[in-house]
């Protein structure tokens, strides 16, 4: 067959079959078949669009929940209720000198004696007014938990309280011992007369037999003075008084859904993580943690963000990647807020990504375009400390040993990740259970 004939043959068919529009009548049955095909597929297309948004809403809800649980219990405020600035003034006047930290502490036992016997202030006050008066600034100044310190002293001297006398042993408590219960922070409020609003002060001023201050004590309910659970306070005082900090070890299991994207979260895909974290509380505020987390990190990216040496005959339009990653973080968390059973920390650190498996699937602009459809890499890439972690953790202590935590986090790549060298970033909320290994006392 000559070349000319070949062309003729090709031409004959091209002309005859090239413009086929008018040769096939529409067949409704074919449309019905297609409809069935589309209905059978029925993928929830919107889910990918909505999940990142739902995730954001969930994170906001968690933060709100955290804030709500954080709301401080207004215990201390009750103690101040009913005290007016005018009631404070007489107390400061009764100070023997302007150095409340020294004078106050020297007679601190008397003052605490008075405060702990709040239910019978007049008795205690009537015994040794001279010694009680200067005690006021000390107790008043050591507001908050430091009150407990002083009460602790009185609790150790129950005999003196019962007899409504200032027992000699109590008076002989060395100045240093009392000072030891008042840490540096406690000293500051002592010098501030405005802070002298504690109940103990009023019981003390009662002892001065000053008309004004006596009237004042009437405004104070005994309940506000007496500690509800002295035993617990003694325990706490022992802890704080000892001021010996032991590192706390914790083991946490975290599970988290997250969104992953290359360069942005525009085409974010949902991934999952599960991991174990070991943490050491090196100070009251700082915690160092490390561990390992197995992550499924899927993402979709434009082909422009995809970098490989392979030359595609027809460039795919976008690439869908499914990466299995071992994430080894090293984080430091700083406790910003801690009250009662709740705490809130912010943290940062670096993660190493061990890329266990990377599968890239190529989507072409025209479906069915000839070219590689997928590519898989196994155990090839490692990014040591290549990802920056930023997180915030809300933790709620369930009991002495266990706490639950919610941790919104963001992982920002410092280097290109994976075989395709993309800026793979992740954001999510980790939920976890922490076992506080060597903690034996409730906070």
């Amino acid at each position: 067959m000559s070349a000319e004939e070949k062309n003729k043959l090709d031409e004959l068919f091209k002309n005859g079959l090239g413009t086929p529009e008018t040769h096939s009548e529409f067949n409704d049955q074919h449309w019905n078949d297609l409809e069935q095909l589309m209905n059978a597929d029925g993928r929830p297309r919107g889910i990918v669009y909505w999940l990142p948004r739902l995730g954001a809403v969930a994170a906001i809800l968690l933060l709100f929940l955290g804030w709500w649980l954080f709301k401080p219990v207004p215990v201390k405020n009750e103690q101040v209720v009913g005290l007016k600035p005018s009631t404070v003034q007489p107390i400061t006047v009764t100070k023997p000198d302007n150095k409340p930290t020294t004078t106050g502490s020297s007679t601190g036992v008397n003052s605490t004696n008075g405060s702990s016997t709040g239910s019978a202030p007049v008795n205690s006050a009537g015994i040794m007014p001279a010694t009680v008066i200067p005690a006021a600034p000390v107790y008043a100044g050591t507001s908050g938990k430091h009150n407990r310190n002083i009460q602790h002293v009185t609790a150790q001297q129950p005999g003196s309280m019962k007899n409504n006398q200032v027992a000699p042993p109590a008076n002989k408590v060395p100045q240093q011992e009392i000072l030891a219960t008042v840490d540096n922070k406690a000293k500051a409020p002592i010098s501030n007369p405005v802070t002298i609003t504690d109940n103990g002060v009023n019981t003390a001023t009662n002892a001065v037999s000053d008309g004004q201050t006596v009237a004042l004590t009437n405004t104070i309910s005994p309940d506000a003075v007496v500690t509800k659970d002295p035993a617990a306070q003694v325990k706490k005082t022992k802890l704080s008084g000892a001021s010996k900090f032991k590192p706390q070890f914790g083991l946490a299991m975290l599970v988290s859904p997250d969104i992953n994207g290359a360069g942005s979260f525009q085409n974010a895909k949902i991934g999952t993580n599960i991991g174990l974290l070991f943490s050491v509380e090196i100070t009251k505020k700082l915690t160092v943690s490390t561990g390992a987390s197995y992550s499924k990190k899927p993402y979709l990216t434009d082909f422009d963000n995809y970098h490989v040496n392979y030359k595609f005959k027809t460039d795919p339009q976008d690439v869908y990647a499914d990466c299995r990653v071992l994430d080894i973080p090293l984080n430091v968390d700083y406790k910003v807020y801690s009250k009662s059973r709740n705490s809130f920390s912010v943290g940062s650190g670096l993660s190493s990504y061990i890329m266990l498996k990377e599968k890239y699937t190529y989507d072409y602009a025209v479906p069915g375009t000839a070219g590689p459809s997928s590519f898989t890499v196994t155990n090839k890439n490692r990014h040591i400390l290549g990802v920056l972690n930023l997180n915030a953790t809300y933790e709620h202590q369930v009991n002495s040993k266990f706490s639950i935590a919610a941790q919104p986090y963001l992982k920002i790549p410092l280097t290109n990740i994976g075989n395709s060298q993309v800026r793979l970033q992740s954001a999510g909320v980790a939920l976890g259970l922490r076992w506080n290994i060597n903690r034996s006392v409730t906070p």
Binding site: K8, F13, P20, H30, D41, V366
Partner: protein, 211 residues
């Protein structure tokens, strides 16, 4: 349908509006079917492939670049759907020897008055491997390298299949004049693809060996 109407339909399809999808399907049914018929062995098969193509159109319509002609995009999808179908069905290979077709006296091909249905019937009678290469080369205008890549075969195989397709078509055209073939009737032979040359003597057709 104006260009604006078309783009409105496409936008509706992007929102998965079933009415718009049906209108678009109707509007391009003939065009799409025409392409798929050339690649398929019969009308039912063509309709099946066409629907696969439209399914891809509707699920990936967000990828359509509005600056380019829609018809060309849709046409390529139909062609690719046909190739996918070809790949999926490429489970059997056929042998045939068409060497002797070379000795058939050449007819005046250009003078043949063959209508669309006749030509389509001939193409459809080609074995799938030949038909696909012939469509891609003679009608779509691809080169053998490209065809080889599309179909996962070598350029040499593509050339060989094209050659054999032409031989068969030539035979069919020549026979189309003969009374026993009949107008629109079935050509009395079963086609097979020649991959390995087998030493067959005598009759040219009906001697396929299925491996």
């Amino acid at each position: 349908m104006t260009e604006e109407d078309l783009h409105q339909l496409i936008r509706g399809c992007a929102k998965q509006d079933r009415k718009c999808q049906k209108l678009l399907y109707k509007a391009f049914y003939g065009f799409a079917m025409g392409i798929c018929l050339r690649y398929a062995g019969n009308r039912d098969e063509a309709a099946e492939v066409m629907n696969q193509g439209f399914f891809k159109v509707f699920t990936h319509i967000d990828r359509y670049d509005h600056d380019r002609p829609f018809k060309a995009w849709l046409g390529r999808i139909m062609m690719n759907a046909s190739i996918d179908h070809y790949r999926a069905n490429l489970k059997m290979a056929y042998t045939d020897d068409l060497e002797k077709a070379e000795h058939i006296s050449d007819g005046e091909l250009a003078d043949k008055k063959l209508n669309y249905d006749q030509l389509l019937e001939m193409v459809q009678k080609l074995p799938q491997a030949y038909r696909t290469v012939f469509n891609l080369f003679a009608i779509e205008g691809y080169g053998h390298d490209e065809i080889g890549e599309m179909l996962g075969i070598s350029a040499g195989t593509s050339k060989s299949n094209l050659h054999k397709a032409r031989q068969k078509l030539k035979l069919m055209i020549l026979k189309a004049d003969q009374p026993y073939v009949g107008q629109g009737g079935k050509v009395n032979y079963s086609s097979v693809v020649a991959i390995n040359r087998s030493d067959m003597n005598g009759v040219f057709f009906n001697n396929g060996i299925r491996l």
